[in-house]
Symmetry: D2
Subunit: 393 residues, 4 copies
Amino acid sequence: MIDFSLPPELAELQARVRDFIAHEIIPMEADPRQGPHGPELALREDLIERARRAGLLSPHASAEYGGMGLSHAGRAIAFEEAGYSLLGPVAMNVFAPDEGNMHLLEAVATPAQKERWLRPLAEGHIRSCFCMTEPSPGAGSDPSMLQTTATPDGEGWRIDGLKWFITGADGAGMAIIMARVPDSGATMFLSRMDAPGITVERSMETLDRCFPGGHGVVRFDGLRVGAGDVLGELGQGFQYAQVRLSPARLTHCMRWLGAARRAHDIAVDYARHRQAFGKLIGQHEGVGFALADNEMDLHIARLAIWHCAWTLDQGGLALRESSRAKVIVSEALWRVVDRSVQVLGGQGVTGETLVARIFADMRGFRIYDGPSEVHRWSLAKHILRGAAVENRA
Amino acid sequence: MIDFSLPPELAELQARVRDFIAHEIIPMEADPRQGPHGPELALREDLIERARRAGLLSPHASAEYGGMGLSHAGRAIAFEEAGYSLLGPVAMNVFAPDEGNMHLLEAVATPAQKERWLRPLAEGHIRSCFCMTEPSPGAGSDPSMLQTTATPDGEGWRIDGLKWFITGADGAGMAIIMARVPDSGATMFLSRMDAPGITVERSMETLDRCFPGGHGVVRFDGLRVGAGDVLGELGQGFQYAQVRLSPARLTHCMRWLGAARRAHDIAVDYARHRQAFGKLIGQHEGVGFALADNEMDLHIARLAIWHCAWTLDQGGLALRESSRAKVIVSEALWRVVDRSVQVLGGQGVTGETLVARIFADMRGFRIYDGPSEVHRWSLAKHILRGAAVENRA
Amino acid sequence: MIDFSLPPELAELQARVRDFIAHEIIPMEADPRQGPHGPELALREDLIERARRAGLLSPHASAEYGGMGLSHAGRAIAFEEAGYSLLGPVAMNVFAPDEGNMHLLEAVATPAQKERWLRPLAEGHIRSCFCMTEPSPGAGSDPSMLQTTATPDGEGWRIDGLKWFITGADGAGMAIIMARVPDSGATMFLSRMDAPGITVERSMETLDRCFPGGHGVVRFDGLRVGAGDVLGELGQGFQYAQVRLSPARLTHCMRWLGAARRAHDIAVDYARHRQAFGKLIGQHEGVGFALADNEMDLHIARLAIWHCAWTLDQGGLALRESSRAKVIVSEALWRVVDRSVQVLGGQGVTGETLVARIFADMRGFRIYDGPSEVHRWSLAKHILRGAAVENRA
Amino acid sequence: MIDFSLPPELAELQARVRDFIAHEIIPMEADPRQGPHGPELALREDLIERARRAGLLSPHASAEYGGMGLSHAGRAIAFEEAGYSLLGPVAMNVFAPDEGNMHLLEAVATPAQKERWLRPLAEGHIRSCFCMTEPSPGAGSDPSMLQTTATPDGEGWRIDGLKWFITGADGAGMAIIMARVPDSGATMFLSRMDAPGITVERSMETLDRCFPGGHGVVRFDGLRVGAGDVLGELGQGFQYAQVRLSPARLTHCMRWLGAARRAHDIAVDYARHRQAFGKLIGQHEGVGFALADNEMDLHIARLAIWHCAWTLDQGGLALRESSRAKVIVSEALWRVVDRSVQVLGGQGVTGETLVARIFADMRGFRIYDGPSEVHRWSLAKHILRGAAVENRA
């Protein structure tokens, strides 16, 4: 039943989050407690407290863990609004990688693991990180190149290896760690981050500055984890990564859609007030067409997100759909932000507006969770295999 | 209620049209009764008879006139399938401009006008044309430049002027004619095409060859129409044009989506069988990525169509939405067809496959019903006027 | 010595060809003796006679064979001007494949072969074709897949195989044929086209209509050639193909540059005269920017051609340079022609101007002589091999 | 005489600069004395001393002021090499705006003004700034909106106004100031920067970090300048701005060409060493094609620069040519840098390589010295005015 309307409860949620972001979070954007590796702890706690008071903390989590149990379509609505401020996802506890980690724990963890890790995550008391990516010659775009090992050691395991691009590592309370187990293969483990044998060697300098804890280089040197710290079953690491994969990709799309809409709104506002060559710059087609293209790109990004979210809500992994959505959305939104910079002229590359910041923060989006090239390669394989062009859009 | 599923009756219709096109129409594509100005009358009658027997003639018309009274969403499903063959829209009587003319007559005509013109159109007995566009300095992209006049003359009117790009003119049974009435402004009139004072001076040579009757230059030289031949009210011509506008634009999108999907399918098939440099050409990323991009462009085209169709089904003119959809779809599908040509290599520009034909037929799509530039200009005006970015995707 | 000026003799030649095309050839464009497979023989003879009288026939040929012995840079100047009319290259005898074939014969043929074939070619008395491409599973983009065989037979050879996309086949007087010789490998042979054992099975339907003789499917079924009909040495076929390759690619670029400039000029003229929405359409930035982009694309195309021509004039095969130029030029000119169509609006896709014809004729340019994808692949190999980025631009 | 070779003295200079950058400057890139507003003074002095010792300081200046008096073509060669390190232009004293300011002073200043300002600039003892751009509603892309005033005051002038985007303001020793003189119009003035009445209110936060002194907001509040501080004649400010304009635009292109080549080289190196999915990533066409496109974009950028430099060397303002070159080069190089980021995957957006820094530094290039849109608008006006398409490429 082709339908693009929002059910009343989602329309209400959308309005509520929009209002919350506008009145509670955007005024915090000038807060100086932010650095090259994201908002500092004290700022984060202030933001979370605001979301908690507004009843908007962790809306994606199940009711059992304090959330609203939003469907993927519901997340599409709420996360776009959250993303309208770069601080919104932090406030509402829906930023990466925590949001995806919570999703994975809900799907795979034991009750005891959930109580230990999911509850404090959902309640905003700790942050987490997801330790998969490795420097060359380890696992990057190609996860099969995994080098980190988990060696049986008494009743538990000893983990050794080097990871990087570990978002949120600095300051995280827990880690999900992908390591290779002899004879079993890739396996996920849970660990507290302050355990002996884990070192955050450094935070990487990055163009983006919106992720709490930045992106760390993390060394595992004889980290001991117990038998109860295996997440799910031995050798199922890649399968679980796939459970996490499509939703995690898609929530990136949702949040960045909000950010791109923000950049566009700033550009529109400028085009409606700045004069050049005898008229408002927005009345120059060179600018007006850019704004029209922005509107179209925001539209197709939203449609692609909604379609993929709906597909996930029907069940299934939606790997092909989420690859498609990731490429469509990340490239469309990048065009929006790049055009918004250009419309602003000189100011576009300065701190006079938020657009330069969104521009720098968003460049990684076409790379993280699989560069466009890897997704196109994967889509091509589906197509050549003869999988039918889908009926469902 | 965000939903991308088809209700059972549409799913059934989709399957039925797909089957009809595959088994009844595609085999007719090699029929020689086609020329530079579209399928000839005898071929058209054969095709229509097939659709009639299959119960698929004029599905967009109301039940009163023999159709299924499809919603816009329903048309999106049926017309995409029809478009999969360049002959499909002719067979099912859903090609331009007749489909849009029927839509307009249902909305505006008197019962007597409907009985005289809508019924034989819906039953496939006659074709029609829509006489609006004029050569310079008359009405092109800017309809306000209308030069054709309708002068009061006894109880009726005398029409004088020159039109061109009149699709379907040669062989049409009736015409809707836009002319300027003194003191009233742009007004639509109905006339039989064999009336004295109408001359189809010539058929224009065009890249496309899929429109029955081609595109004519039509001269009105003292054409007499009666008082009862005014369509709707005097001076309302541009308003009625808007009633026709969004749906007509959008059904173009639907049909060409089918055609582009056809081109893509042919390219995929080739990529799965032709070898070069030691592997299937589809296994070269240069080709595989093109197919992936095709799939993504088909996807966003379909989503944009569905969204605009749904908006029309909620009522309203959807002018902004249909401008947006027209640009998104026409540009996305053009990329699909251009890539499909490229994937086929040398064969792409030959008659060895249907792709070169679709390529030539489709180039006008970025121009007809408003070039992309006019739509971008119109969208920019909406944006600068401060009309809110819509919630509904 | 970085220098973009023309020496006086080239400036004079440029002016002379420009004048010839404007006054002698463009008036012939409306001549009806043209069909889907190019200008007919009688038209071709008329055109050649005009060039002969103007002293502009075969200017690329050596003085010994009646030409001017133009350098590659000189060809760049003359062929661009010739290409300004789609009939210009035919008139001046510089069209494909004859121009490239003459180049190859000058480089490789024996004196006797030159007397027999090069002289009548250069004098415009016969046409030729180059028989390399084969249908699947034979040699397409990947020439190593060559299937046609030349079997020793008495003092000569017997040739068997099937070729297609053989430009100019219908009506050609001679053929250069690539075939595989046992133990030696790919070898080129010369044959008259009316020999027993050669059949032009059909002319392929193509989007382009500017090549005399169209593009044929040619069957060799026991064709006998003599010992003296080997072009150069046995097994050197691919090496000779490379001698022909870069210059042939580049002269395509030169001619199409002229054609694209023509399309642009027509669009500019239209933009300076057609009104819409209260001003000349060229004053709308949406149109003006397209014209500016055209000018920039024509500029980079010309620069890339000149650079590659200069490189060839220094000696060497210039394979990397000509791959680069082919991609840059074919893609830039395609954008020019596509924009010119769009600027013209509805007329762009009709026979009202020459632009639709140039559009259809030029689509193959991104494919013939190696699709862009094959050239990018080849460039990437050069780059990865660590060949230095060149100093010489 | 179409020629792309370098004369021996330029070939020697190219080799010498390349060597200097590789061995003297690149090792300094890790020097910590750099911040958000460019290299600090101490670092700058170290760099300049190296260039001075190498005989490579201010090579564009006339011999009278210690330089080599390079032609524009000579600058194209030397500045590209300088730009290969982001510190190179600072070291060789060829960065913006100083290089352009020196050019202007050589062309317009009196001997006394030259002695006072040009000499210490050319010798690297002071820096300068060019105060033209103003915040809304003042002069931005449209210089005619100039608001800053110069009021006659005794024998001299009193200057009042607000400027921003004043590159190099913080730490500059002198300023060229554009102000409106009653009855005369826009006029340029010279002033020391430590004069009363000049305040650098703040340095703007910008994506780029390579300009010494950053980009300042500069207030003139009753600045007094003498009669001898007028640069050239009253009311000629815009004419002189045009003298500076084309060369200044073009030297930006030259320096950024070097920077983009650096980014490409880093990407190539990565593609030749990193493995994924069973082969080197450069062997994936998705990566290899990006490198091929980079090579082509670098090529057309270099050609467009050389052509415009040669045009300037023939005399004249080359306004149309430099608009064209600015758009071609800034857009081509941006594509190069964006692709280089993408090829590097996650590392592309980090400080692990220099590419992210070049990416951030270069975004302003499509805006500074006229956004692409303003240049396209200007080119369109030339075209519509009927100015002939040039013969000289």
